[in-house]
Symmetry: C2
Subunit: 158 residues, 2 copies
DNA sequence: CTATTCAGGACATTTAGTATCCAGGATATG
DNA sequence: CATATCCTGGATACTAAATGTCCTGAATAG
């Protein structure tokens, strides 16, 4: 899995604590010492997916496009890592005996179905957790985290 | 995910229909028109994992090391793809403010925990399904499959 | 002894992930 | 209007992993 998923989730949690004001890619990168240009690519992907909104120009930056309770971890994984499942059925049954060349073995093949059922369990679990859920748990574990994040972003030199 | 996982699962299902007699890597590869040498590598991994047993020499080959009801899909995924989870926590919190350099953020970080919970759901699902389960479903979908496989293997030129 | 087959290391090729850079467009500010 | 800031996206380079091949060595049946 793409490392950008981790960056995106932490960045979204941070953005949930800075509502209303755009944060630049440079600042988000500085927070965790990440490569700015590459993080920027992930933020662009989140923007294309409708998770963030972006503003160009001075005083520009990124902010959450909607309530963090409405941004699931699955949304982020799909935006960064793409919609493909980890197990890709290559339909090897088509090369086997008695194969139907026009059948879609990603649907018929029982190995494919079994792997898909596991993938669905995975996605169901991710879909059930939101950025707000994570943020809430962080707060109950260390209540000072949002304040710390706000002041750290405020103190970053432009 | 490694494509060898798919090959391994189909090969194990086939092997469950040819108990007692070893099947060569060449035959298993010919069944689905797979590259012999590369499939052989996957079969070696399954052997190291204790899923298959191998026999050298003429009349040698591979067979299941235990009852297919006792070989889970997770066993195969771990043997071929390794034990690592898809989401690797890079502990980026260590570069953040107020980080504890000696903390293990793969345990503490709530993003990491959330991703791990999804990964566990995935693995639970895979652990709950066996090669025998797949084979049984294949039989109830096409009862002639085991016989077809047996005769196809028998007819492959050595 | 010889042919067959697995074991595994060495290597080559291809693809995906990671990362940097730059030109172009948007926009706040003076 | 001029300029500095900042997002957008394409081009490119580098690295790591997946994929695939080849060869030597060891086991073993006939």
């Amino acid at each position: 899995m793409n490392e950008g998923v981790e960056w995106a989730m932490h960045s979204c949690v941070n953005l949930s604590w800075l509502p209303g004001r755009p944060v630049t890619a440079k600042h988000l990168a500085a927070f965790y010492d990440l490569p700015t240009a590459y993080l920027n690519k992930q933020l662009q992907a989140l923007t294309r997916a409708g998770i963030l909104t972006s503003i160009s120009g001075p005083k520009g930056g990124f902010q959450l496009a909607r309530d963090p309770r409405n941004i699931s971890l699955l949304d982020i994984v799909v935006a960064i890592d793409g919609p493909d499942e980890a197990f890709r059925c290559m339909q090897i049954l088509k090369a086997g005996p008695g194969a139907d060349p026009k059948a879609d073995y990603t649907k018929v093949c029982l190995v494919s179905q079994a792997m898909r059922s596991a993938e669905l369990a995975y996605r169901r679990e991710l879909a059930g957790q939101s950025i707000a859920d994570i943020a809430d748990r962080v707060v109950s574990q260390s209540p000072e985290a949002p304040g710390n994040a706000r002041s750290r972003f405020a103190n970053l030199k432009s």
